[in-house]
Symmetry: C2
Subunit: 539 residues, 2 copies
C-alpha cells in the first residue's frame, strides 16, 4: 500500500489510469474489493455492499440486513420522486397496522395460498396474528367500510412500510430478504377502464424510478397466469436483467385485482345508473375494481449488480448522496505550509461553489490519509465524479476531473466549474443508462426453435419466444431448461442451472418475424403461439 | 339538517356565529361531533378522530389503529422538518431489522427489565425473536463493530420506523398504542460534553416540532431517576399538558445513555491521547458516550386533544394538509346559470392564486351538498381558514374569510388575497400556540404545602413543588395522591384518580420563592428539597 500511495501523491501518475488500475487490484486487500465481478459474482456483490458501507449482515436473524446510510439515502431519493408523483395522481399516504390476523389473511383463498408459506407470526394466541407479507387483507375490510357510493371513488391510498416474507430460499441482500421496505399502493375504482389506466400509469412511474433515477433499463410487460399476483386479475411488471449472471429480475409490479378482492371483502356501491326505487329495494350493487402496486428496496440491489465494477460501487448521479468528491493532491512533505493552505482553501471554495449550484459536493481534507487512499475510498463508495486540486492547478486555474463510470479524466477551467460539472454529471447518468441498455438489448435473443432455447440461456441471455401461454407448457419449459435438477443449488450464482420462467409477455412485441395466428407454433409444444414471451433464468 | 342548511345558504346568516354554533350542536348527529369536549372527553376524542377521518379503529388487533391520510400528512410534515434538521446536525438515516433476538435484548439488564413486559414476539423458535420496542440492543452490536478509533466518532444514525410495545394498559389512539411510528436517533460520542450538548440540541428540535409546528406548548426538563429511560444515564424530556383532563403528557424524550450501553456492548476505542506503545500493548481503552432520542405519532394525539373543539379538529396551519378551503355560497335554485358559473370560476381562480403563493388551498364545488354541509365537513376536519364566495362578493371584489380557531370573520379584498390570507394563517398559528400556552401556564401551580397538593391536582393543575428527589418519596407521593386506588379505573378520563408522577425537573426553575439549600423542605417528606419538580397525573 505505502509504495502505491506515495506514487499516487504525484498528480501525473494518477492520470495514468492503466497503471493505477493495476495497482489498485494488487493493493486492494485492505479497503477494496478482492474478487473480480466476472469471476465470483456472489462474493463480489457481498464485498461491494459491505465494504462500501451500504449494508451490514444482521447476525441475529438470517435473511435480515442493516440498510446503512449510503443505501438508505438512495431509498429516500426513490421515495422523494415516487411520493411526489403518486400524490399528483391523487394518492394519499396512510399507515395500517403491520399485524394481520390469521382469520383475515385467509379470506381470499388464492391470495392466502400464494403467501401462506412465507407468513411470519405467532400461533400461541387465541386469534393467531402474523406480520403483513402485503396488506390487501389488512386494508380491504376498511375499504368496504369507507366506500358506500360512487362518490367515494376512486379511493387511492399508499403506505411506505416494512413487510415480512419468511422466505426459506437462500436470502440475498436487497434481492431476497425476509424483512424489506417498500411502498404499497391500493386503489379502488368505479370502472375497469379507470383501473386499467392507473395500472399502466403506475408502471410508467416505476420505469422512471429504474431508468431515470437508477439508470437501470427495464422491459414492460404482463405476467403469465402462473406468475401473476395471487388472487389478482392480471399483473403488469417491469423486468430487469443482470448481465453477469444472465438472469432476469422482477423489478416492480402493478396489479389489477379486478373484482376478486371486492367480492371477498364486500366492497360494493349502489349503481348510480340504477338506483334504488322509492321502496328502497332493487338497487343494483356494483363491486369496485381494485389495483395494488409496489416497489421495494430490491431496486437498490439491482442497481448495484448492474453498475458496480471491480473497484466497487458505481452510483448514478441522480441518487448519489455525494455526487462530487473534491480531494487535494500533489502535496508532499516538502510543500510549503502556505501552498498547502491555499490548496485546501480552494478545495473548500470549489465545494461551496458546487453546493450553491445544487450539486451534492464534499471535500476530503483528512491529513491522515494519502490521495491514493482517498481515491480508493470514494471509488469503492461509487461517487460519480472526483475533482483533484493540486498546487499546479491553482496556477493553471483549473481542476482535474475523473469519472467513476469510465475513469475518463479531463481538466475543468475554474471559471466553467458549475456548468461543466453539472454537464458531466448529466452525461454520466445518461451514459450509465445507455451502456446498461445496450447490454440488455444485446442479451434478449429472439429464439424460434427449442434447440436454441437452452444454449441461448447458457450464453447468459433472456429469450423472446413464440408461446402458447398455457401453464402446463410453462411448467414443461422450466423442467426441460433446468440443467440438472438434483445436483445443483439453484440459488447459487456460479451455477445458474435453474429452469427458465416466463418473465413477462412484453407490451412491445418483436415484429420480425411476426407471430401469425393459427400458423406460428409455440417454442415448446404443439399448440399455436399467441405472442412472444420473455423467458429466462431469474432471481 | 335540511332547515339548517337552507338557512346557511344565505351568506348573512352564516356570519352570525352564535346562531350557527347552536344549530350545529343540534343537528350534528350525522356528520359532526355529538358530545361536548368538556362533558365527555374520552368519547369526544374518539369521535373527533374517527369522524374527521384521521383514524380508524383496527378491529383485528386491539390497541392498533389505522392512521388515515389527514393524520399521516401531519406525520409527514413532522418528518420533513425533523429529517432536514437532524441531517444538518450530521445525522444519517439508516434502517435496522425490526426483529431482535431474546438473547440480544437481554444483554443490558436494566434496559430489559424496563421493557420486558411489553415485548411482543414468538418463543416457538430455537432462538426466540421479538419485535423491537426500541432499537438499542439491535443497533449497538454493530456500533461496536463500526467504531474502532476516535476518527469513527461521532457516529450519528436515525431511523423512521414502526415499533411495538405490547401494552396491557388501556390503549388510546395515538397516545398509547401497541404499534406506533417514530424516529429513533442513536449517536456515539468521544466525550460526555459532546453527548450532553447533543441531548439538548435534539430536545430543542423536539420543542420546535411541538411549539412551532403543532402549536403545542411544552416544558423542558430532566426526568427523575425513577422515570428515566431504562438503562440510560439521564433522560431529558418535553412535557405537555391536556387542559380538559388536567393531566400531563410526555411529549418526547432525549436520553444520554452515558457509557452504560457501550460497556455492555463493548463499544470502545483506543484513547488517542494514550496510544499503544511500540510493543502494541497498554493502549488505554475508552468507552464511547451514547445518546438515543425519539419522537412518536403520539404528538398527533396531543395536538388533537389540545386544539380540538366541539365542532371537531382544529389544525395549526403549519401542518394542515388543506390550509384554506374555498366554498361557493349564496347560490339558490333561482340563481341564473351564468352567475353560478362566474362564482365557481372565481372560486377556482382564488384557489389557483393561493396555490401560486405556496398556500395549500382547495375548492369544494360539490353540487350535491349545501354550503352549510360543507362548512361542517371542513370544520370537522380542522381546516384553518374558510373562504366563502357568493354573487355579491363578485360585485364587491372580495371574499369572506372565517377562522376555524376563533370563528372570526372578515372580508378580504381580492387584490390583497395572497398577502392577507398568508398573514391570517400566520396569525392563526401564533394565536393557537399562545392560547394553549396561556392555559398551560395558568395550570402549573407552585405548591409549597402537602395539603394543597391533591386539591390542586383535582382542580386540573400540574404542580411545581420543592422536592427531595428521592425515589421512595416519589412512590409515596403517588400513593398519597391517588384518590381511591381500588375502586376506579385509572385510565378512565372521567375519573382521573390516579396518583401523581414526577413529570420532570424543569430546566427553568421557579424563582419565587427560591429553594434554599439545607432549609427548604420537600413537599412530601422531611428531607431537604433540591429543586422544584413538576408533578401531575399523567398519560
Amino acid at each position: 500500500m505505502s509504495t502505491k500511495n506515495k506514487i499516487q501523491q504525484s498528480h501525473e501518475v494518477t492520470m495514468d489510469s492503466t497503471k493505477k488500475n493495476e495497482a489498485h487490484i494488487e493493493g486492494a486487500s485492505q479497503i477494496g474489493i478482492e474478487v473480480r465481478k466476472e469471476a465470483d459474482f456472489s462474493t463480489w456483490y457481498t464485498q461491494v455492499l459491505k465494504r462500501s458501507e451500504m449494508l451490514e449482515y444482521y447476525e441475529e436473524v438470517s435473511g435480515c440486513y442493516i440498510i446503512r446510510p449510503l443505501a438508505y439515502n438512495i431509498w429516500q431519493e426513490i421515495q422523494n420522486f415516487l411520493d411526489a408523483s403518486i400524490k399528483e395522481m391523487g394518492v394519499e399516504n396512510t399507515y395500517f397496522p403491520m399485524f394481520v390476523s390469521q382469520r383475515q389473511l385467509e379470506r381470499e383463498k388464492d391470495h392466502v395460498e400464494g403467501f401462506a408459506p412465507e407468513v411470519a407470526g405467532s400461533s400461541e394466541m387465541e386469534n393467531p396474528i402474523a406480520i403483513r407479507p402485503t396488506s390487501e387483507t389488512v386494508m380491504y375490510p376498511y375499504f368496504a367500510k369507507w366506500i358506500r357510493t360512487h362518490r367515494d371513488l376512486p379511493l387511492k391510498v399508499n403506505q411506505w412500510c416494512n413487510v415480512v416474507r419468511w422466505e426459506f430460499k437462500k436470502p440475498q441482500p436487497f434481492i431476497r430478504t425476509r424483512e424489506f421496505l417498500w411502498q404499497e399502493g391500493h386503489t379502488a375504482h368505479f370502472t375497469q377502464e379507470e383501473a386499467d389506466l392507473e395500472v399502466r400509469d403506475i408502471l410508467e412511474l416505476y420505469r422512471k424510478v429504474y431508468e431515470d433515477l437508477l439508470a437501470v433499463p427495464v422491459i414492460k410487460g404482463v405476467k403469465s397466469e402462473k406468475e401473476k399476483f395471487a388472487g389478482g386479475l392480471y399483473t403488469t411488471t417491469i423486468e430487469g436483467f443482470i448481465p453477469t449472471t444472465g438472469r432476469g429480475i422482477q423489478a416492480a409490479t402493478s396489479h389489477c385485482l379486478g373484482q376478486n378482492f371486492s367480492k371477498m371483502f364486500d366492497i360494493l356501491i349502489e349503481d348510480p345508473n340504477a338506483p334504488a326505487g322509492s321502496d328502497g329495494k332493487n338497487a343494483k350493487k356494483l363491486y369496485v375494481w381494485q389495483n395494488s402496486w409496489g416497489l421495494t428496496t430490491r431496486s437498490i440491489g439491482v442497481m448495484v449488480m448492474i453498475h458496480g465494477d471491480d473497484k466497487g460501487l458505481v452510483l448514478p448521479p441522480q441518487v448519489a448522496q455525494i455526487q462530487v468528491i473534491v480531494i487535494p493532491c500533489g502535496l508532499t512533505g516538502k510543500t510549503p505550509e502556505e501552498e498547502k493552505k491555499n490548496v485546501e482553501k480552494k478545495v473548500n471554495e470549489v465545494v461551496e461553489e458546487l453546493k450553491s449550484a445544487g450539486i451534492r459536493a464534499k471535500s476530503d481534507l483528512r491529513d491522515t490519509h494519502t490521495p491514493g487512499y482517498k481515491f480508493n475510498h470514494w471509488e469503492l463508495r461509487g461517487v460519480p465524479l472526483r475533482l483533484e486540486i493540486g498546487p499546479r492547478d491553482l496556477t493553471n486555474k483549473q481542476v482535474l476531473s475523473s469519472r467513476r463510470d469510465t475513469s475518463a479524466k479531463e481538466p475543468i477551467p475554474l471559471v466553467e466549474l458549475k456548468t461543466r460539472v453539472s454537464a458531466i454529471l448529466k452525461t454520466i447518468q445518461k451514459d450509465m443508462f445507455e451502456k446498461a441498455k445496450k447490454i440488455y438489448d444485446a442479451h434478449r435473443k429472439i429464439v424460434l426453435k427449442w434447440e436454441d432455447f437452452v444454449p441461448s440461456l447458457d450464453d447468459k441471455n433472456l429469450v423472446l419466444v413464440p408461446w402458447c401461454e398455457q401453464e402446463k407448457c410453462e411448467d414443461a419449459i422450466k423442467e426441460r431448461s433446468s440443467r440438472s435438477n438434483a445436483e445443483q443449488e439453484p440459488e447459487d450464482d456460479k451455477a445458474p442451472s435453474m429452469g427458465a420462467k416466463s418473465l413477462c409477455i412484453p407490451f412491445e412485441q418483436p415484429k420480425n418475424p411476426p407471430i401469425l395466428e393459427g400458423e406460428t407454433t409455440c417454442i415448446a409444444c404443439d399448440a399455436y403461439a399467441k405472442r412472444y414471451a420473455l423467458f429466462g433464468r431469474s432471481y
